[in-house]
Amino acid sequence: MTGAGPLPTPEGRPTGAPAPRYGPPRATIDRDRSKSWLRRAMPIVAAHRWTFATALALSFAGLVIQVQVPQLLNRAISDSIVRHAVPLSHYGWWVVGLGAAAGLTGFLSRLFLFRTAYAMEYDLRNVVYEHLTTLSFPFYDRVQAGQLISRANSDIRSVHLYLTFAPMILVQSAIAVVAFGYMLSINVLLALVAMVTMPFVYVIGRKMRASMFPVSWLIQARLAEVATVVDENVNGVRVVKAFAAEENQLRSLASAARRVQWATVKDADLRSQWAPAIQNLPQVGLVLVLLFGGYLVIQGHLGVGAILAFNAYLLMMQAPFTMLGMLIMMGQRAAASAGRIYELLDEEPTVVDRPGAVVLTGCRGDITFDDVRFAYGDGSGPAVLDGFCLHLDPGETVALVGATGSGKSTVARLLTRFYDVTGGAVRVDGTDVRDLTLASLRANVGVVLDEPFLFSASIAENIAYGDPGASRERIVAAAVAAGADEFVRALPAGYDTVVGERGYTLSGGQRQRVAIARTLVVNPPILVLDDATSAIDVQVELQIHDALRELMVGRTTLVIAHRLSTISLADRVVLLDGGRVVADGTHAELLATTPRYAEVLAQAEEHEAALAATATATAGATPSEVRP
């Protein structure tokens, strides 16, 4: 449109920006829901296979080196100390060399391993975040932020730790195979006796898995409950304080925390039931070795040294088995966590670009709502809009008036395609908005929401939110138009003042003005003001109106209005009642012809009349006097 300025790139950042230091995630999870959680995570593991394989190979090498040390000491004792065949220093240097090699491989394998772990975490976190940005409003309507934050925190951690350390532990467990080989080479029968308890380890491990999975899931779910209480408390702190509801909130938290406590104690109890058995079964193997091996020694089939060797080897197997127990536990948590993350990632955005969606270019600003029906939720509930028809000519300003709950804001949300219509169609320049790309539609439709949320950044950055490349001149110009320039300049650091997370340091009216400036800076051909000036005092509102009136020239504007003063901005007024347009015309026409419009306004009449001139003057008409 005229002077609409360069649209932001579809990606929303200025072209030519330096390549970001941190790249996109290397892989995402497998979309196939029928696969096990581990298989679905495989693409992420595979994306880091080289560092991962290096870490595992080095870890194995380190293990081999470690196993050599006792052998070397054995030979040193027999060759140098008992037989004096080789100088002691020879073995001394060997040990030093092995020590250095073990240190180096250990260092490198750990470094590579942790790099892999944190690289996978990086991928997972970004995959989840990027997926969250694609999801549509209906999803956010039913999900609590605390839930999402909890999943993005503890759940991701338990998954990536398992993905990294499980293979590591398995490699370390290879030492058990080596040890078993040595045992077999000494005495096959005794080796089998020593290993007789191992099947039980496996069986108990499975049982432990089955019994602990639900409790792991329960813990994660309940941690999310705690997170939700905290999230709401932090964001609703003013209400909590104003009503001295601290104790109630503390009770909410206490009961959530109590539920976590119960679940973790249950977890400890279940674990105490299985884990000691898994850890001590190899010891039972040692008892059998002592008993059966002792019998073999007494019978003369075995040397005493073999008992010591078996002891050493079974001891080597002890660590892997302890770790395996840990692995099963980690696996529990990871599986439960992965389920919760996949639940998120499997959520499909409902409002998406259709295949073949076209880019909206040269937008004229012709808007049609054609027999629109809409219901929140899955569409089966009560319709908010039903048979809603409205046409806006390019450059026209239309005010949408209606009682609370009549669906005014919904109209704005359908135009920006925050939601898709349940029936009928919304068209911009004759094209169904569902056939346009979301990015181009939203770049052309600027909306000032009734929720003036500001981000923790400077005011300038907040105003340039929709166009981060905007020059300071454009930012200031937008602020001037929105009536924000004056108070912004009075702030300690002017436009560079950082506002708090929810813009707390600014008053509601000031935040609304920053929000208006934020939309104006994008300079969209279509403008939607959803109750955008409700918290601004009238004098300032009038100033903004003057500025807006200029801005509205050549721009299609939909004003969702509560105030008569705001209605006066419009060329045409539309009355919304029962989900459809019941009257359409100028303010005066509606007053004259539509009893319902007069009725809606008349409900304010007594109040307005009693308040006399001021309100009357603002509105430009006193309903009481209008009545024929």
Binding site: A145, V237, L253, L449, D450, G508, A515, S534, A613
Partner: protein, 667 residues
């Protein structure tokens, strides 16, 4: 969606008195089908938890004033701690019985000439007993330490949360919500593993090392001394380095995760703006850099850990090399037997094994400590509006509010309010008007004691607000903030926020008073409909009405309405006017008005500008006075007039005379 949608809206779970409680009834608390049976089975075992016996005090209890350390956390439950320590000792000792029993079995039962299967059998039997004892000790240790950890974390959650509740509003405006979230979630969860398992593994390993050191000394003092002299100083030096380096690095990790969660939290809460402004891609790139910094911090700690862990391992091997040289020489010179050297090496192995585990546990310990430090910083933040030690409960008030020479600035160097003197008689309705940023809302925040004046004092019925308890003050005040905030929970919970035990009739009366009866009738579950902060089932007007109902139910003596009616369309506004009349009756009320029309319903008006009350009086008096208010009023009419003409221009059918303001109504 159907994947877990089955368990969706099932009505409130459990006694839903507490608005903050999320309950499992919201959608997206999905449970995989294969888990359902297991979880049901678990939940069947869960006793009904009694209503939590917690009370909130503005002044922390003496016990909560002490700075937290890991030691204090675990010593808070001495019985469980003693049990844990005893069981740890039992585990460490019972596990060392094996080698000794094996040695006895060999020496007394297998050495040529001493063949005795009975002795071997006896020792094997004892070994089995020792193993069973070990397993049972471990079992009990897991139970006891699990309980200890769960209780410590429960206490800690409550303590940190209670402290958050005490902190003043300015703290919440300066700290990002996500950072506070990470303290309450990530940092506390980080301690879970340490307290439940890590700390006790650490103790077992350390104890094992002590036991083996003792054994080494009984075997050969010279070699044992050599070991101690060579190994211990190096290990101590390495540990000291690790302690310092990792403490810094783990702090960076804690900051990193806090930033990640803060960024996420902000994106989630500002989602609508992000979408409306096409910022998704930009935000994704930004999130990558935040996560990337967190990753880099983690990799830095990994590097430190990778030096420390394998480093200690290398020291172990090198020590064995040195012992080989020293011990071997001793054997060659005949001052040591080969058997003794072999046994010494065997024990030396058992000595170095725990070092490895110890090093691992030590990093867990350092991570936990970093979290404790973060929590400590939070707990040591003092609220700027604190309850005085001598504060008394405010007796039931009449509602006289006085400002005496009040000066206040969020930043003391930049006062927002200067030298305000104001008296509001009980039962009066006063409107604050003035330009945005003039200090209207700030004056209201001083009445609710969200902030304390820098100079002067604010009194209610002659009580300086700083001398009364915060709870007793705020229970007699009702506030309708600019933005209504809904908590996850039912509509009833949200309305009965100030009085969770309010009878149904009272709730319905409040609903009726603000004209929400229609809405409640329209909602599927009536008052039991679950709402939450970003739910779109309610319009902003309806949310505002809920906030009003909330204030209505609280039946406060003093009501503060912060631009509360500005978000309503005319119809809703009219609906609540009547309710407000009832609500304001016989109450002191302060209205922060942006519209002169709202201001005019007050008994008198205070015009605030530049942090001062520049004029006061009734609407008629102020207009007659011809000062600031009259000028505002004039401007309003003058600016509105051309607008009305413009309107007339657009709509030709406007009857003549409409544009002209009618005369002010009397009264």
């Amino acid at each position: 969606m159907t994947m877990w949608g089955g368990g969706g809206f099932g009505g409130p779970m459990g006694g839903g008195h507490t608005p903050g409680r999320p309950g499992g009834n919201l959608p997206f608390a999905g449970i995989p089908a294969e888990l359902q049976a297991g979880v049901d089975h678990l939940l069947a075992q869960e006793p009904a938890h009694p209503a939590p016996d917690v009370s909130f005090t503005q002044v922390p209890l003496a016990a909560d004033e002490r700075r937290i350390t890991l030691v204090r956390l675990i010593t808070a439950h001495p019985l469980l701690l003693i049990g844990s320590v005893a069981l740890v000792a039992a585990v460490a000792t019972a596990a060392q019985a094996g080698p000794k029993l094996t040695e006895l079995a060999i020496d007394r039962g297998m050495i040529p000439g001493h063949h005795d299967l009975a002795v071997v059998g006896l020792m094997a039997g004892l070994y089995l007993v020792a193993t069973v004892v070990t397993a049972l000790s471990q079992r009990w240790q897991a139970k006891v330490t699990g309980r200890l950890a769960a209780r410590v974390l429960y206490d800690l959650r409550l303590r940190v949360f209670a402290h958050l509740q005490r902190l003043s509003l300015d703290f919440f405006t300066e700290e990002k919500a996500g950072v506070l979230m990470s303290r309450m979630t990530s940092d506390i969860e980080n301690l879970q593993q340490l307290l439940q398992d890590g700390l006790w593994q650490f103790a077992v390993q350390a104890l094992t090392m002590v036991v083996i050191t003792v054994i080494l000394f009984t075997m050969d003092v010279r070699l044992a001394l050599l070991t101690v002299v060579m190994v211990i100083p190096v290990l101590v030096a390495m540990s000291a380095w690790f302690h310092r380096a990792s403490a810094r690095a783990y702090q960076r990790v804690r900051d990193g995760i806090a930033n990640v969660l803060a960024d996420l939290s902000e994106s989630l809460h500002g989602f609508r703006i992000v979408v409306a402004h096409n910022r998704q891609h930009h935000n994704v790139v930004h999130h990558r850099s935040v996560v990337g910094e967190y990753r880099d911090a983690n990799v830095a700690t990994a590097r430190i850990g990778a030096l420390y862990g394998p480093g200690t391992q290398m020291v172990g091997i090198l020590a064995q090399g040195a012992l080989l040289a020293a011990g071997g020489t001793m054997v060659i010179r005949g001052s040591l037997s080969i058997g003794a050297l072999v046994a010494f090496f065997l024990y030396l192995n058992r000595f170095f094994q725990p070092i490895q585990l110890l090093a691992q546990q030590y990093s867990a310990f350092q991570q936990g400590n970093a979290s404790v430090l973060k929590l400590r910083t939070l707990l040591e933040t003092t609220p700027s509006v604190a309850e005085a030690p001598h504060a008394r409960p405010l007796p039931p008030i009449e509602g006289a509010i006085t400002f005496e020479g009040v000066t206040f600035g969020y930043d003391p160097a930049r006062p927002v309010i200067t030298g305000v003197d104001l008296t509001i008689e009980p039962g009066q309705t006063v409107a604050f008007v003035g330009p945005t940023g003039a200090g209207k809302s700030t004056l209201a925040k001083l009445i609710t004691r969200f902030y304390d004046p820098t100079e002067g004092r604010v009194c209610i019925d002659g009580h300086d607000l700083r001398d009364v308890t915060l709870g007793s003050l705020r229970r007699q005040l009702g506030v309708v903030p600019q933005e209504p905030f809904l908590f996850a929970g039912t509509l009833r919970d949200n309305i009965a926020f100030a009085r969770p035990d309010a009878p149904d009739d009272d709730v319905r009366a409040a609903v009726a008073a603000v004209g929400l009866t229609d809405l409640v009738a329209r909602l599927p579950d009536g008052l039991d409909t679950v709402v939450h902060e970003r739910g779109q089932s309610l319009s902003s007007g309806e949310r505002q009405l809920i906030a009003l109902a909330r204030a209505f139910l609280a039946q406060p003596r003093v009501l503060v309405l912060d631009e509360a009616t500005s978000n309503l369309d005319l119809q809703s506004e009219t609906r609540i006017e009547a309710a407000l009349d009832v609500l304001l009756e016989a109450r002191t009320a302060v209205l922060i008005a942006h519209r002169l029309s709202t201001a005019m319903r007050a008994d008198w008006i205070a015009v605030v500008d530049g942090g001062r009350v520049v004029e006061r009086g009734s609407h008629a008096e102020l207009v007659a006075h011809g000062g600031r208010y009259a000028a505002m009023y004039e401007t309003w009419i003058r600016q509105a007039a051309p607008e009305a003409h413009g309107q007339a221009g657009i709509g030709p059918a406007v009857p003549a005379g409409l544009a002209a303001p009618s005369a002010p109504a009397g009264g």
